[in-house]
Every structure is written in C-alpha cells, then in structure tokens.
Amino acid sequence: MATNAKKKMVQWEPSDIKAELLRQYPPKVARKRAKQIMINEAQQNDTPALTANVRTIPGIITMRGCTYAGCKGVIMGPTRDIVNLVHGPIGCSFYAWLTRRNQTDAGPDGENYMNYCFSTDMQDSDIIFGGEKKLTAAIQEAYDLFHPKSIAIFATCPVGLIGDDIHTVAKNMKEKFGDCNVYAFSCEGYKGVSQSAGHHIANNQVFRHLVGLNDEIKPGKYKINLLGEYNIGGDGFEIDRIFKKCGITCISTFSGNSTYDQFASSHTADLNAVMCHRSINYVADMMETKYGIPWVKVNFIGAKATAKSLRKIAGYFGEKELIDRVEEVIAEEMPEVEAALAEITPRTEGKTAMMFVGGSRAHHYKELFDELKMKTISAGYEFGHQDDYEGRQVLPNIKVDADSRNIEEIEVEPDETRFKPRKSDKEMKALEKKGFKFKEYDGLAPDMDKGTLIIDDLNQYEAEKLVELMRPDIFCAGIKEKYSIQKLGVPMKQLHSYDSGGPYAGFKGAINFYKEIDQLVNSKVWSYMKAPWQENPQLSASYNWE
C-alpha cells in the first residue's frame, strides 16, 4: 500500500481503484461488493455483467431508502388532489412531508393537498389490537374534512407485521362514500431491497385503481402521457411549457403535479413517453398491453436530449405540421442555450463528475455534463436494476430473487372494448425500419467511457474513497451524502431534490444547470480549505509594512 499511496491519483488504474474500494471490507462483504463494481467496457452484452437490485449489506452505511419512500415519496407524493394518508406510526409520514421538492400548482380547481401531511399516528394499542379501526376512522375524518376525490392509503412497516387488511378497509370506505375513490398500497418499508420495490407497488395500484376510469376524450391533437417525471424543482412545469409551445397535449404526467383526473384519463393518450425508466416502466408496459399505447424512452434532461426527445415524439406521430413546429421550437430555444454554453464551457471543459442517484437519473444528467464538456468518470444508481445499467436486452437474463418475488406482478390483458392499437402493425414496422425504437432503453453503461467505474448501490465508505482517490470536480448524490463529500473539499450537487435549484429539465432548465455547475465547480470557496499559515508554514522575517 505504501507504494500505491505515492502514486499520483490520475495514474491509478481502474482496477487499482476497485481493489482499494474493497480493501477494508471483511472477505464476504468484499466478494459481494466486487460484483457490484464494474469497470466499464462500453459495449452491449446480453448477459448482465453487474449485479444490481440486491440486498444492502447490514451495517454498511447505505444511500438507499425503502419501499415506502419509493411508493409514497416518489410516485404518489407529487399528486396534488389525492389525500395521501400514511397508516403507521408518525415518523414515516413526517419525513416524507414536503422534503422532495415536488413543486405544485393548485390549478383552477384549487385542490391541492401536497402541503399537508396525513397520518394515523399509530399508538401502542393499535399495534397490539390492530389498526384497522383507527384507519377506518381516519379515512372518515379526512373525507368529512376535505371531501377529496380520492384517498390513498400507505402501509408502513408495522402495519404489514400486525396484518392490518388495508385493502378491505379501503374498499369498504370507497363503497360507503360513493364519490371518493379509496385504495391502498402495501408498501411496507421492508419489502424489496430499495425504493424500487415501492415504485413497482405504486404502479400496480395506480394502474388498477386509477388508470382508465374516465373515457371522456380530451381535446388536443398529439396526445401523450409523460411517465416518470416528478416535477422536482419545477422540471415538469418547464416540460409542460415546451409541450404547449410545440402543440403536444400532455394528458397525464405520472406524477409531477398530477391530478386524479389525469390518471383516470391517461389511457386516452396515443403515446407514452417514459422519462425515469426505472420508476415507471411497469405502467408503460401494462398500458401498452391493455390499451395498445406504445411507449418510447425520452429524456428531457439536457438541451440536446430535449430536442432529440421532441423529435422522437414528433416522428412517432409523423405529421408534418408537428414535425415542423417542433423544429421551429428547437430553433427558437437553442440560441439561448448555445449562448450560455459558449460562455460557460470554457470554464467547465475537461472537468470531471461523479453521479450516484436514483435509477435513471445519473444517466440523464450525464447528458448535461456532456454538454458542459465535462467527463463523467464514475456513476451508478442507488436502486437501479441490471437493465438500467446495461439495457433492456438483458431483461430475460435477470434472475428474479426472493425479495423481488415478494412483489406482485399483475396480469394484464387487452381491454375488450378499449384496446386500440395506436398504429397498425405496418406503420409500426415502417417506423422501426426507419430506426425508431419502441420499448427500448439502452442503459447507462453504453454511454459511459471505457474504463470508467460503474458502481451499484455505492455507500458512504466507497464514496469517500472514490473522492479521495479520483478527486472529481463535482460529485452528485443525495442530501445524506452532501456534507461528507463537501468536507473533503469537493462540491456536491444533490440530484434527487436539486438542493435549492431547478428546474433542470428542458431548454431553460439546461441553462439553469450549466450556470449552477459553473458556480459550483468554479466557486472560490473550495480554495479556502487551508489557512495561509497552513499552506506556507515557514516563518518569514520580512514584514509587509517594512
């Protein structure tokens, strides 16, 4: 080790770094982690080369959250006119109260419960005697107070253990009210290995209880749903602005600033555009099977990515009017983006970034760093699956483990009356022939350079080591990681909830991001780590005023 430490960091081989990350672990832990750290080959394999979506090692300080966080926090949290009632002790509901920075606009109807936090605040006696009575009463009280269209119930850890039947309670209350849709999510924190399980559970119930309830045809010509966009820091607002400008009608966003009716009508759209592949690909698949809506992967993070995604949507509809309009919008928006880049890239070019967030987000943000001519030297996901890393082609090769098997898969069949292929087989084939890709996601690995490190479920220990060894110019992760990285003198940008910033999506968002990254990597503060007398400890005999 002594010789290693003397090596200059830039000369470290990826394999050395990997070895260094594993050095401190007990042998069993090291063996497991070794499989989750991949030195990128930048090639598309059929068999997964990286292990992902496996249990977190007890005692290792993890970045991950839980199933409940994925279900209530991510998917249902940003829905504005649904009362999200958490059944459990108070904590779970408290921590998910407004902390994700999902922005919201109450809209003309003025219904917005996002600023509220609802809980059954289970007590000792509820744990001993069961909490169904209390849940029933709480639903009633919420109904009496607010008369919402819909109440969603979320189970936390103890609820599953004591066996409260939340689904029956929900069903009974729904029948009782008649004008309020009540349904429940069995998203206890211990199910699955990360937030990802919660996304899946949320998607199933959204599909079962919300999608397809309203057949009324909404006005608009090019109708899409935007899936996997949560309006963090106003991203959704910027994307909406662009859609409007292009003449694209977004029937429903899952689920940034979304409303009950949006979900209920979402099956009337003609295309599903999927942003966060990880959190929501299930809904896209189910909607395709049941209603015949094809889906494509899009990305509105990065100006080029935004343009590309708009073109993809326009290409799908294939009408000149839309294709032209999209080009016009891109032409209108890009000069401002290019001006910002021209000013900023000289200060960011060649700098390095690391990103460890979410299950698609690190990949999305790589595009923005590319635009800034910054190099992503290491990246990974907190709760990605193998297909998020290596592309959907590995799906058939992924072994389903016990933890994933606990999560319900719902059987979906074409809807007898409402299944309607949006494009004929011939049209689909023609599009595919032109290179149009449906249902496809290539994953992070093919986009990363050869020799970069792709690490699944990075933990605090490894994060610190990586930063020490490779000294990136910026590190991106979540709030828990923020200050330990910054203590090392490296700026840390939150990419789950964006610190105080945003939006970063779309054209205007890209400009915001460039400016912020410039501000972070070029901030003077990082040069203040050492006091002058620490930098230059020898005594000097001359005085300034001499």
């Binding site: 401190q24 672990y25 007990p26 249990r55 977190t56 007890p58 005692g59 300080i61 993890t62 970045m63 991950r64 959250g65 199933t67 966080a69 009632l85 002790p89 108070i90 904590g91 779970c92 509901s93 921590y95 998910a96 407004l98 902390t99 219904e111 917005n112 600023n115 509220y116 809980s119 059954t120 605040d121 007590q123 000792d124 509820d126 209390k134 849940l135 029933t136 009463a137 709480a138 009280e141 107070l145 607010f146 850890c157 103890p158 253990l161 924190g189 211990y190 699955g192 933890d403 220990y461 610190e464 709030i479 828990k480 200050y483 203590k487 090392l488 003198g489 203040y528 780590m529 050492k530």
Partner: protein, 457 residues
C-alpha cells in the same frame, strides 16, 4: 394559500393526525448518540427509517450524519433481525472502527420483538465486539411518545453505562436535553466561567457544527467520551435540563448509583436560566462571578429597552415540551401572551405546566399536548396572533396568515445559524429576543403608513 383546505371550524379528530408537531423516536436516539465521542448510531430495522432520520438530521444540522442500519428485508422481518444485527456489528467495527455503536430499534424491530441486550450478549460471546469497544442500546418504538422520547431513551442508556468506582470525581453531570450543538457549547462556557467541573452528556458540540477544512472525519473531536460516561456514577450530582428529555437518565443515576439529581427546566429565557445558574451555584458550592451577572443584566436591559414592542403581543407556539415550557415562561416574563401552544409529544403534565405559567395572563390559553399543526392553524384562524414561533413547517402557516415568524426548535430545514448561535442562557436569551424583535419591528416598518414610518423607533 398554501394550506387552503384548513377550515376555521374545529371538529374533533380521534384518528387522523394532520401536519404533525412531532416525529418518531429513533431520530431522537440517533441525534443523542451523535453526542458520544467516536460513536456510530445504528438503526435496527429496515433501511428506510435510517435514511429518513439521517436526511432530516442532515437538513437540520447541515452536517454529515453517519449512521448504519440493519437493512431488514422481508426475511428478517419474519425470522427476526438477530442475524442482521450481528453481521452489522461485525461490519461496522471492521469498516468504520468506531469507539461505540449505539443501537436503537425502529417500529419494525420493536414489533417483531427483537431483544437488543440479548443480541449484544451474543455479539460479545462471538467476539464481534473488539476489546475496548462498546455497544449501547435503546429501545425506541415509534408508536410510543415522540422523537423526544427516543432522545430521552438513548440518553438513559448512556446513564446506564455508568460504572462508579466508589471514588467521587467532584464533577456535576449536566444533561442538556435536545438542544443545539451551540447550546451545549454555551452550557460548557457558562459552567467554565462559574468554575464547576462537569460531565455534559450528550454533547454534540464539535460533532455537528464542525469546520470545513478539506478533511472528512466520520468521528470528529467532540462528544462525551465513554470514560466520562462511565464516570457519571461518581459525580456529586446531576442537573437534568428538561423533564421530557433528560429526567429519566438523571433518575437512573440517582436510583442506581445514588447520584442525587434535580430536574430543571431547560435554561431558555431569563427565569429558567436564573434557576439553572442558581442550581449550579448550590450544587457546586461556588459563588457566581461578576461576568454572569453582567450577562444577565444585559438581557434585562434589552427587555426593558424594548418592552413597549413586546407588551401584550400574542404568540402561537409549536415545538417540543421542554423548549416550549421555557419559552412560554420567557414570553410571559416579558408581558407577551402565548395564546396557542401545541406539542405533538404526549403528556398531561405539559398542559398543566403551561396553564400554570400563563394563569395570570388574564385570557384563555389554548394548549394541547399530542396536538398537531393543523389544529394550531385552526386556533390561529379563530384567534389571530402577532407572532408564531416554531420549526420550519410553521412557514406555511406564517405565510398564509401573514404572520411574523421566528424559527426555533426542530427541525429547521431552511435557515442556518441554529447550530452556531446558542439560544440557552442569558446570551441565548439576547439572541432569542433579537430575533423576536427583528420580525416584530420588520413588520411594523413594513406595515405602518408612510406618515407613521419613523427612523428611530
């Protein structure tokens, strides 16, 4: 309107909590544990709780909060979490090498009935706890009490680590309760000036208000050492600040090791600080130096100078019981009117204390333990106030009702300073007062008609 659906009509709710004024036990245990030197808190349950607790503490303190978790999945939830905890203890000592692991339960491990002391014994027997290292544990079910209870339980487990030698150490134990790192520092400053030797536990100063220097230390310099905790059994007495946060630990030392204790209010504001200083004087057998009197005089001076802006002002308060009791007394002592007082932490004693403190105010006071901020907002709608004091979540009420607002308590997610500037003691009183006056006078400057707008005030 951010809270547009909150009706003025107050209906009784038996089952539904809206906008809680408390959170769950483990986060308190985690914060307390960070006040032990070289300690890694460990959350025994599924990893989501730990992630939430770390995130909230991080947002409040703006500092790295390291804590490990047993990462339960379904298997552990059915078969018990012993294997996970044993593995975790081994991994933690190997990878992070802390002096102490402070384990607390979550509602999950509590519900399945994991027995921490027994698991700890097994870890010892299997050699998973290296020589000279420690594992503390506290049971912190989230369906009892609140985050304050969890804090208290972990502090009690610190008191349980006492190992008296039989030889008195001449020190006074001070249990400061859930206050900011800056407050703990201020308490140490005060006791130093007074000349009483103390063991302060927990002590998060130097842990959660650390410098930025290009180095990350998972275990910073600060914190009460295990040696000090062991020595608490040899102390001449204990001052427990706050019935809810600190009394259990003090009584434990009293009952087990005959270290006499007095339970005082947290030293926020003039009178509670007076009592604290006086108690130090008596127990330490010292005379109070001029400097302390000087600081006291400064606080009295500022109160008298600005009394006209404070007199009769109506206040709504939300927070934790020990802090609220002291704050209520402080406000009343300045002729202000705390009209609505809510804590989410249960306890009849709280309501009684607030009623006593406000009984001469000559108006009805709404007080509720185990209340929530929805109720507080409804009270405010029915009887408006001039000022609201509480944690960050108050900003929604403050904006909707257009109220001057002072951030104080836990959590404060959107401002800085609480970790650096104390609000305990006389100096802390000055700061509290400065903040209160600041918002009241800003409001006056903003709202007075031009003809009434004055330079000097």
């Amino acid at each position: 309107m951010l809270l547009r659906h909150t009706p003025t009509d107050i209906t009784e709710r038996k089952a539904l909590t809206i906008n809680p004024a408390k959170t769950c036990q483990p986060i308190g245990a985690m914060y307390a544990a960070l006040g032990i030197h070289g300690c890694l808190p460990h959350s025994h349950g599924s990893q989501g709780c730990c992630a939430y607790h770390r995130s909230t503490l991080t947002r409040h303190y703006k500092e790295p909060i390291a804590a490990a978790t047993s990462s339960f999945t379904e298997g552990a939830s059915v078969f018990g979490g012993q294997a996970n905890l044993l593995q975790a203890i081994n991994n933690i000592f190997t990878v992070y090498n802390p002096e102490v692991i402070a384990v607390h339960t979550t509602c999950l491990s509590e519900t399945i009935g994991d027995d921490l002391p027994q698991i700890k014994k097994k870890a010892l027997a299997e050699g998973k706890i290296p020589k000279g290292k420690h594992v503390l544990s506290a049971s912190t079910p989230s369906y009892v009490g609140s985050h304050v209870t969890g804090f208290s339980n972990m502090v009690k487990s610190m008191a349980m680590a006492a190992e008296p030698t039989g030889k008195k150490n001449g020190k006074v134990n001070i249990i400061p309760g859930w206050v900011e790192p800056a407050d703990m520092e201020e308490i140490k400053r005060i006791t130093k000036i007074i000349g009483v030797k103390t063991i302060l536990f927990p002590d998060t100063s130097g842990v959660l208000n650390g410098p930025l220097s290009g180095e990350y230390k998972m275990f910073p310099e600060g914190g009460t050492t295990m040696a000090e905790l062991k020595s608490t059994g040899d102390s001449i007495g204990t001052l427990a600040l706050g019935e809810w946060c600190s009394a259990d630990a003090a009584r434990e030392l009293d009952a087990k090791h005959k270290v006499p204790c007095s339970v005082l209010d947290m030293p926020f504001g003039l009178k509670a600080t007076d009592r604290f200083i006086d108690a130090l004087r008596t127990i330490g057998g010292v005379t109070i130096p001029e400097q302390i009197l000087h600081e006291r005089g400064q606080l009295v001076d500022m109160i008298s100078d600005m009394h006209q802006y404070l007199y009769g002002k109506k206040v709504a308060l939300v927070g934790d019981p020990d802090q609220l009791i002291a704050m209520t007394e402080f406000l009343v002592s300045m002729d202000m009117k705390p009209l609505h007082v809510v804590t989410g932490t249960p306890g009849k004693k709280f309501e009684k204390r607030i009623k006593e403190l406000t009984k001469d105010m000559g108006c009805k006071v709404n007080v509720k333990a185990k209340g929530d901020m929805f109720l507080l907002h409804q009270w405010i709608k029915n009887e408006p106030v001039d000022l609201i004091i509480g944690n960050t979540y108050c900003k929604y009420i403050a904006r909707d009702e257009d109220l001057p607002y002072v951030r104080w308590g836990f959590p404060i997610l959107d401002r800085q300073g609480h970790q650096y500037f104390p609000t305990v003691g006389y100096k802390g009183g000055l700061r509290l007062l400065e903040k209160i006056l600041g918002v009241l006078l800003d409001r006056k400057d903003r709202d007075d008609p031009e003809s009434k707008f004055e330079l000097v005030l």
